[in-house]
């Protein structure tokens, strides 16, 4: 950076020299033709540019001095100042002083004398600040209230000056937490002018910013919109009522409010039904109400709102305790349902709500930004690129994406594996890249983003891509594929995750250390994730890991087989259907049913796990999805959705296939959690065995 600063200063010095030569020439010319407009303009521009650049590069004295001279010539341009011999003499003397200033040895007293002389001519005070805004930094540190209501209504011609509302809303979001409500008044297509802005926005902003900072966001558009900014104050003991907020905003009249209150239905509903307010205005006001409720708490909290470092095992303990609480609550609920005691039911519901909030909070604390592990890869990539003699840059994106710390711990090895793979097999050497007309420097991009209940972590390289023909040949060679078998591209790519599959021609120190793609796949399966691969020959490969946000508690579907209970992770469940005698069919020893015209294979955990007991006449099938393939699981009864606190099975049972953990039910019973990918694998093996027979 210092190089650049020096470079920029040098550029300025060169330019200033040129400007001063031009200034001198023009002044001499002006002396001959005192009324020549072009010459006057040239002088003005030279001085003006000098002033601007000087200030930019830290030559305050020159800028200040140029400002005085500029004033004089501004008056000449405007016709209020005559080009006198005195003026030209002063300007020429000023040029000499500029030269000295650039050398750095201008005597201050001469400058002062000169400024005074110029001021006499222009009649302006010399100490007037150069035109930069003095107000620049003064506005940020005053009173800092936390909550704001902003109504931003752009005029119809808002776009005409190249303004765009979106960056403004994003800039507001940078100031704090925002809740944005859109008021959309876009007419039908026939009446719509695509160059007109029909939208307006209400923003509830919570953050440590002043009104000036908020106004500053809208500084370029203040004439092109209606803008109101209001501080939301804590309202003492009672939170603000919706009606009062709406009346205060002028969205409804007080009579409408009284009318609505008389009806005694939910206020917002009535207002909406009677057309007094649009649903967007209403939800905006509700957001403000919510914000107001929080004001009181936050004010008290702010003084102590600092970061605390906590050992991570304490977080694990907290999560365990929350898990216990969830379990106890389930028991309590069961107990309360058996009694007809309204009071108890209410209390149990209350406890349930608080337990849920506690759970959300505890999980939130365990979330860590994924950037923590991304940063480790800089070193890895650097070392690998030296080792292999490849020129590689690592880019990361979405570092701030948060994910449960247990998952982060599970993610390290797979990511190391994938990055090594990308460096070793993915990226070509600089020479190969040049030959292919690519940038000799290879790029690996690690990125993360949240997508609904999942986080997607992807590793992209711009290398050679996966050679699908090679994969196919290998698959045939390994007996995974018939020579002429038609297969979808995705399915073919997924073959690289099959055990013992590797397309690398040779084993190097970087890869081929026994950690194959199958192990990687297993690791990701264990944490309930999935892998997607996109590749284009010659262009590169993207491997996306789709991971759950948390591992500690999942939503599950509780099912029963005889007297045993099992939990199927709800994320894997597609649907539940009934299995009657007619739709049963057995093909190749595997059970199949007809699912709306498609053949659906299903497993009987009853047999798999050797559970005794009579088979009911009607079984239920839970249809689960594993990697785009559907699989049925036959059970006796589907009990319902269940908040499942996952407990590990302990060392002894760790290697048992088919289960990913256990959980304690409301009545103290234990349910095992079914491992869907493992079961799907078992189902596939059943087919193979059947084929062998």
């Amino acid at each position: 950076m210092t190089d650049r600063t020096a470079e920029l200063r040098q550029a300025f010095l060169t330019e200033a020299g040129d400007l001063l030569v031009e200034l001198e020439d023009s002044l001499l010319l002006l002396e001959e033709k005192p009324t020549d407009r072009d010459t006057i303009d040239r002088i003005f521009r030279a001085v003006h540019t000098l002033k601007g650049s000087a200030a930019m590069f830290g030559f305050e004295q020159i800028s200040q001095f140029a400002h005085n001279l500029e004033n004089a010539f501004d008056q000449v341009r405007a016709g209020s100042q005559e080009v006198s011999g005195d003026l030209i003499a002063l300007a020429l003397r000023a040029k000499d002083l500029f030269d000295q200033m650039l050398e750095g040895d201008a005597p201050q007293d001469q400058i002062d004398v000169h400024c005074a002389a110029l001021a006499e001519i222009t009649g302006k005070s010399t100490n007037e600040p150069a035109a930069s805004d003095a107000a620049e930094d003064s506005a940020s540190s005053e009173d800092k209230p936390d909550h704001w209501f902003i109504r931003f209504q752009p005029h119809g011609n808002f776009f005409a000056n190249g303004s765009d509302p979106l960056p403004l809303l994003q800039e507001l979001a940078d100031l704090g937490q925002t809740h944005v409500t859109l008021h959309n008044e876009v007419p039908g297509l026939a009446d719509m002018d695509p160059e007109t802005c029909y939208c307006s926005w209400d923003i509830a902003l919570s953050g440590p910013c002043s009104e000036d900072e908020i106004r500053d966001v809208f500084v370029f558009v203040e004439d092109d919109c209606e803008l109101s900014i209001r501080k939301i104050e804590a309202d003492g003991a009672e939170p603000a009522r919706l009606g009062n907020i709406l009346v205060a905003r002028g969205d409804i009249a007080a009579e409408d409010l009284n009318q609505a209150l008389a009806d005694q239905k939910p206020l917002g509903k009535i207002l909406e039904e009677t057309g007094k307010i649009s649903s967007s205005r209403l939800s905006s006001a509700l957001a403000e109400q919510q914000t107001r409720r929080q004001v009181g708490d936050q004010k008290a909290r702010r003084s102590a709102n600092q970061t605390v470092r906590v050992p991570s095992d304490k977080l694990d303990q907290l999560m365990d305790l929350v898990g216990e609480l969830v379990t106890v609550h389930a028991r309590l609920e069961r107990h309360a349902n058996r009694r007809t005691d309204g009071e108890t039911t209410n209390l149990v519901e209350e406890v349930g709500r608080i337990t849920w909030e506690l759970r959300e909070n505890a999980m939130g604390i365990r979330m860590l930004p994924i950037g923590n592990i991304f940063s480790k890869f800089r070193r890895l990539v650097r070392d690998l690129s030296h080792e292999l003699g490849k020129d590689i840059q690592l880019i990361t994106a979405g570092d701030e994406t948060e994910i449960d710390k247990t998952i982060i711990e599970h993610l390290n090895d797979p990511l190391v594996h994938l990055v090594r793979n990308a460096v070793d097999h993915g990226l070509e050497t600089a020479a190969e890249r040049k030959a292919r007309g690519k940038d000799p420097m290879g790029t690996i991009e690690l990125s993360a983003r949240q997508q609904g209940p999942n986080v997607v972590v992807s590793i992209r390289d711009d290398g050679g891509g996966i050679d699908l023909e090679a994969v196919r040949a290998k698959a045939v060679n390994k007996g995974l594929l018939e020579p002429q078998e038609e297969i979808e591209e995705q399915a073919l790519i997924q073959m690289i995750f099959a055990p013992g599959f590797s397309t690398a021609k040779e084993v190097t120190s970087t890869s081929g250390r026994g950690v194959g793609m199958d192990v990687l796949r297993r690791n990701i399966d264990t944490i309930g994730g999935s892998i997607e691969v996109q590749t284009e020959l010659g262009q590169g490969t993207t491997i996306a890991l789709k991971l759950p946000l948390t591992l500690a508690i999942i939503e599950g579907l509780l099912v029963r087989i005889a007297t045993r209970f099992f939990v199927v992770p709800l994320a894997a469940v597609e649907e539940c259907i009934e299995l009657d005698g007619n739709s049963r069919d057995q093909v190749q020893g595997r059970h199949m049913i007809d699912l709306r015209g498609h053949v659906l294979p299903y497993l009987e955990p009853r047999r798999l796990f050797h559970i005794d007991g009579p088979v009911p006449p009607r079984e239920q099938i839970v249809v689960v999805r594993n990697d785009k393939r559907l699989l049925g699981l036959a059970v006796d009864e589907i009990i319902g959705q269940h908040q499942t606190v996952i407990k590990s099975l302990g060392k002894v049972y760790r290697d048992i296939k088919g289960f990913s953990g256990g959980t304690v039910l409301g009545d103290g019973d234990i349910a095992l959690i079914l491992d869907v990918p493992a079961l799907a694998g078992m189902a596939a093996e059943t087919v193979k065995e059947a084929q062998l027979v």
Partner: protein
């Protein structure tokens, strides 16, 4: 695809400073030494934003802004004017011609980036 921003200024040092700052932030930069050059460069090529000085030989900043607003391909791109004047009059003149916003010289690189983020994301 990085966004393309054009800097129009008769001061080479200011153009250079704008270029360094924007390129460091990942933008692609086009340079024009005066208004006429800017207008010639805007021949339909991709340009997401223009930062222009006001006082320039050949064509001044106001004319550049008017040209952009009249051009079908660039009508809605943001145009930021560089000005040493904080007087409302200058800004009004620019705004009337169609400028999106302004930066008062002298400015620091971070101020420039802040303004760019305000109009282009």
């Amino acid at each position: 695809m990085s966004k393309v921003i054009m800097t129009v200024d008769d001061s080479a040092s200011i153009r250079q400073m704008v270029r360094f700052t924007l390129e460091d932030a990942g933008y692609t930069v086009l340079e024009a030494g005066d208004g006429q050059e800017a207008v010639t460069l805007l021949d339909g090529r991709t340009c997401h934003m223009v930062i222009t000085d006001l006082h320039m030989p050949n064509k001044d900043g106001i004319e550049v802004i008017k040209h952009i607003r009249a051009h079908q391909g660039y009508r809605f791109i943001p145009v930021i004017m560089l000005t040493t004047e904080s007087q409302a009059e200058r800004k009004q003149q620019g705004k009337a011609a169609g400028a999106t916003g302004w930066i008062v010289k002298p400015f620091k690189p971070e101020q420039l980036l802040k303004v760019v983020k305000k109009v282009l994301r």
